[in-house]
């Protein structure tokens, strides 16, 4: 009997993991960077790394089903004659008609309206379906200015000047030829079927001094009625917030890197910008330093999934959150019922992110007339409303347990962190200690 040396177990590199190897092969075969939808997929410090303390001897709770816990929020009270009042502090983020199908946009409007909250246009202008089905509609003012016109500006309930978004701070919109249908092309004044790459900078202003003048113009055009939001990607949250306030914004919107996009380079999504959790405290600090916390409202988005995330964001000083990806999932995005179709596209339910290709089995990120029939706007709107209701109830459950009669009374003192990273980013103590990294000199 011959002796054989025991074999070693085949070992794959942590650096060159399967995904990395596949991406190198894909790049070598095609010569083009990978484009996809959604936000950062890598693991990041997030709200999961925070816990609420709840009630104890020194803090007493509210009765779960009997004592009121307010969820309403007013946005735009700083300068606007007509601020908007929402029943819940969860809004629907900007997503364009073009990237989304008409029925999907309608469903977002229906769901938001049933829930007493707002929805938002996107890089394709305002559609009649969207305006008609959205009680409160925020109109985005983007670098591309596709479809921008004074009539829609005046029939919007608020205006959101988009400087950037979390998936790609510094990048412009992208809508590839497959999705430029006749109607989308018409709305954007572009030839059908071309790859549309929106500008990354606004065409007629640069920097905070210009922005102040631009905001003045928009206020003058709309007779100072509409709240004006300024949305930025999670890049330099302290200074971006301070400069937005200086420029005259009523509301600052910060979108962390988990925030989704319709189409952007993978390398951009995963490597530019900061996690949502890292953006909140600097933004709140900027508002506090300027004496504007709660006077200028702060909306945060990027990876908000449930009522606990809502409650944690609010406890850190945010006035409202915004959801995009989660809202699409509520409508039916990545639903396992279409697994066979996902398999045909070389993916699986839960991982599908080639939203730019326009072949979405769920009929949401497409302009294909057959696929979009898979979205029933009434039923999908109802699902979104249900989901928003659950998130709100969850956030209230936590707030009552912390003894708060309003979601906005949650505070950083209600939180601890599970990791040193999250403790440093959120500015709350590491669980079991009184240590907040970076505070008190160490």
């Amino acid at each position: 009997m011959t002796y054989r040396n025991p074999p070693t177990t085949p070992r794959k590199s942590a650096t060159f993991d399967d995904y990395t190897l596949s991406e190198i092969r894909r790049a070598a075969a095609t010569g083009i960077y990978d484009i996809r939808g959604a936000g950062a997929k890598r693991k990041l410090p997030h709200f999961d790394d925070l816990l609420f303390l709840g009630a104890s001897i020194s803090r007493y709770p509210l009765e779960g089903y009997r004592e009121r816990c307010d969820t309403s929020v007013v946005l735009g009270s700083r300068h606007a004659k007509k601020p908007i009042e929402l029943k819940i502090p969860i809004t629907i983020a900007g997503m364009s008609f073009g990237s989304l199908s008409g029925p999907a946009k309608e469903a977002l409007g229906r769901g938001a309206t049933l829930s007493g909250t707002s929805t938002t246009t996107g890089d394709g202008g305002m559609t009649e379906e969207e305006r008609g089905h959205s009680q409160t509609l925020v109109y985005q003012y983007l670098p591309s200015r596709y479809g921008m016109n004074p009539r829609d500006l005046r029939r919007a309930d608020a205006i959101e000047i988009v400087v950037g978004q979390g998936a790609k701070p510094g990048g412009g919109g992208m809508l590839l030829g497959q999705k430029i249908s006749d109607r989308v092309a018409e709305m954007r004044t572009l030839p059908k079927g071309i790859d549309q790459r929106s500008a990354s900078r606004h065409p007629d202003w640069t920097g905070p001094d210009d922005l102040e003048i631009k905001i003045l113009e928009l206020r003058e055009i709309t007779d100072w009625e509409k709240p004006i939001y300024v949305k930025v990607g999670g890049a330099r949250p302290y200074y971006d917030t301070a400069l937005a306030v200086k420029s005259g914004a009523d509301v600052v919107v910060i979108d962390g890197m988990q925030g989704g996009t319709a189409a952007t380079q993978e390398v951009f999504i995963e490597n530019v910008g900061q996690p949502t959790l890292a953006c909140i405290r600097p933004a709140v600090q900027a508002l506090q330093d300027l004496g504007m916390h709660r006077k200028v409202q702060l909306i945060v988005s990027g990876g908000i999934r449930n009522g606990a995330d809502v409650a944690k964001a609010l406890a850190l000083g945010v006035d409202a959150v915004s959801i995009g990806t989660a809202a699409l999932v509520a409508l039916g995005d990545n639903d396992p019922r279409w697994e066979a179709d996902y398999n045909e596209l070389g993916t699986t339910a839960g991982a599908y992110d080639d939203w730019h290709e326009g072949r979405d089995p769920a009929g949401i990120t497409t302009q294909d007339p057959e696929l979009m029939k898979r979205v029933d706007p009434i039923a999908a709107g109802r699902r979104l409303a249900n989901y928003l209701k659950v998130m709100t109830l969850e956030a209230q459950t936590i707030a009552r347990a912390c003894g708060k009669n309003s979601l906005h009374n949650l505070e950083p003192e209600d939180l601890v962190a599970l990791t040193i990273e999250a403790a440093a980013m959120a500015g709350v103590p590491l669980a079991g200690t009184n240590w907040i990294p970076g505070k008190n000199g160490f």
């Binding site: 016109n149 009539r151 954007r188 572009l190 500008a199 065409p203 113009e217 055009i221």
Partner: protein
């Protein structure tokens, strides 16, 4: 009940409504302009002492005339939809930005981004326009009687830009379907912008634009036409150097 002097009332309605910005705030001017309804008799407006004010006569949506006596700051006539504005002076950045229809004439020079993202109407600059003139234009017609600066007609989607003088660097970079007509020298063309043949329909179109802009003594045949080579419309790795 006092008798109404009909002839006097008519006289007043036809006189210009004068708004002196050294005495009245900008807000009152724009609000008064927005309060106009179709068929209003107040069809002639005059704005005195603008002194570089921003956002003069923005968002006007009635077919009135507005004479601005002096120079204005940013965004004069922004989102104009149907009015005819004349600036008897120079204009700051973004004059006529996102214009929908109507016309704006600047007797002097215009700063950056004149006519940016304009969807329609006619913008005439009798002097020079600075950089990024007609940036992202979407259907507006722009006639500049002097020169224009660099990066003009960047990502221009639709409409016509006519320049009687010279154009700066990178004209028409990443242009879509807008047409550019330049009579003088072009410092350089931007990515995917090329000189194109001037066919009879272009000569006719250009002559019409010159006529509408009140330009005389200049022939359409003196211009060259520039537009998109359309090579960047869909991504091709072999064009990567141009991106």
């Amino acid at each position: 009940m006092p008798a109404i002097n009909v002839s006097k009332a008519l006289d007043q309605s036809h006189a210009s409504r004068v708004f002196d910005l050294s005495e009245m705030p900008l807000r009152e001017l724009n609000q008064a302009l927005h309060n106009l309804t179709p068929g209003s008799n107040e069809t002639a407006w005059e704005v005195l002492h603008p002194k570089g004010s921003h956002s003069v006569a923005v968002g006007v949506d009635q077919p009135i005339t507005i004479d601005v006596r002096g120079s204005v700051g940013y965004y004069c006539g922004g989102m104009n939809d149907g009015s005819s504005i004349t600036v008897h002076g120079s204009a700051g950045p973004g004059v006529g930005e996102n214009m929908m229809s109507g016309s704006i004439t600047v007797k002097g020079d215009a700063s950056q981004y004149a006519g940016a993202t304009g969807k329609g109407g006619l913008l005439v600059i009798e002097g020079n326009a600075s950089s990024r003139c007609g940036i992202s234009m979407k259907g507006i017609d722009i006639v500049v009687q002097g020169n224009i600066g660099h990066m003009s007609a960047f990502m221009a989607q639709s409409g016509n830009l006519v320049v009687l003088g010279d154009a700066g660097d990178a004209l028409g970079d990443s242009i879509y379907e807008a047409r550019l007509f330049v009579r003088g020298k072009v410092e350089s063309l931007g990515a995917d912008c090329i000189a194109k043949e001037m066919r009879p329909e272009h000569l006719e179109l250009l002559q019409g634009l010159l006529d509408r802009a009140g330009v005389t003594g200049v022939k359409a045949a003196e211009f060259k036409r520039y537009g998109s080579a359309r090579t960047l419309y869909n991504f091709n790795i072999d064009n990567a150097d141009a991106y």
